[in-house]
Symmetry: C2
Subunit: 227 residues, 2 copies
Amino acid sequence: MPSVTADLVLGIPHLSMLPLAEAERFARELVVRRYASREFIAVEGEPCRGFFVLLSGRARIFRSGADGREQILRLLAPGDTFGEVPVFDGGPNPATVEALDLCDVALVPSTAFRLVVARYPEVAAALLGHFARRLRSFTELVEQISLQTVQQRIARYLYMTAREEGVTSPDGVVVPRTITQQDLAALVGSVREVVSRTMRVMEEDGIVEIRRKEILVRDIAALRALI
Amino acid sequence: MPSVTADLVLGIPHLSMLPLAEAERFARELVVRRYASREFIAVEGEPCRGFFVLLSGRARIFRSGADGREQILRLLAPGDTFGEVPVFDGGPNPATVEALDLCDVALVPSTAFRLVVARYPEVAAALLGHFARRLRSFTELVEQISLQTVQQRIARYLYMTAREEGVTSPDGVVVPRTITQQDLAALVGSVREVVSRTMRVMEEDGIVEIRRKEILVRDIAALRALI
DNA sequence: TGTCACTCGTGACGAATGTCACATTCCCGT
DNA sequence: ACGGGAATGTGACATTCGTCACGAGTGACA
């Protein structure tokens, strides 16, 4: 009967194909830690000790510019992994990771992980697929920031979120507001005020209805058409 | 004595550690083709047949938006590889690749490559390192486009190019103009006119001198300070 | 040598976006 | 319940940036 932590190892996307014995050995190397909301899990520029698995909670990966503005590179949900890049290119952390909630995070030490990657080609293959998908999504992020308007980027976020997390109701799709406008601004590469105004405009156009803790998408086709 | 094409295989970054016999088998799978200037080597959205190695010439990888504007993701020099992403995530080409010169390009078929990756852990490891570096540079690209001004991005390009390709002369560093302003604009995520004007301003500030086929960087420290 | 395509320079203009300032609302903990 | 911090709404404004239009310079090639 596998221990709790070996189960945990097998639940990590890259490592699901490890044999049980290896998973149990690996489990002893894991370090699990809890982070408070808005606490930094990793800091840009610092050396890395391994990669991370987000077990519970939400987090954001971002870079900040000179004037204090921030650009979110990725939002993390439970089950997501992060920090693989410095493990494989040997550099410092390329970005800062911050907990948005109370987060439980497992740290997978570099050396143990690299060893497993070298020994199990399936792990390497899974990781290559993972990296490839991440590169593709970066391609999309660059295109959006560079070639689309703020309204388009916000519309895309709302559209995607509505499809993934939305609940259909008689009036439309109800999307819970999981991130602040400040974070949404950082996600689409803009500032809070512009996000606020842009969403108002979409409300005046009858596309959405902004509520306290949720957004009602009245006309998802119109939202789609904005992108 | 290795054939010419086996040499070629061993010259490919990811494959340099293959044993000779494997390289020779592999060489038979390669397809080399020549592309004219401004010809498309791969097109965004189309399915991929393998990844590419740029043997000679220069090329650019870009995505284009609705209004015809383009964002260059990467400039390619001889020896660079591209198109790995769709090989490993199974999707279509994430971007378009266009020859800037007369280019010789080798196509490495997906199936043959994936086979070698599965069999040789060193190849997989090299590829992981390569993907990690690419992810890191995307991080930087996103930050630049999102958080820096056009002037800063141009200054960075000039500074980097001066350090990598510049020739020191009594008056400063001479940088050959290898790409058009149109392409430079697409590289920094702007338009030709703005690039032209911005470089004029830097000229008026005595930082650079714009010439027909080259740029003289008079004050590289000032250039550095702009970034 | 003329012409045609390409590249670059530049002025005028407008739209999108970021900045600043301040009011309002909400939520959380004591 | 109440205070205070966080999140949000909004007006007025500054500025960067992109768009449009047009002219000039250059080089390749017949």
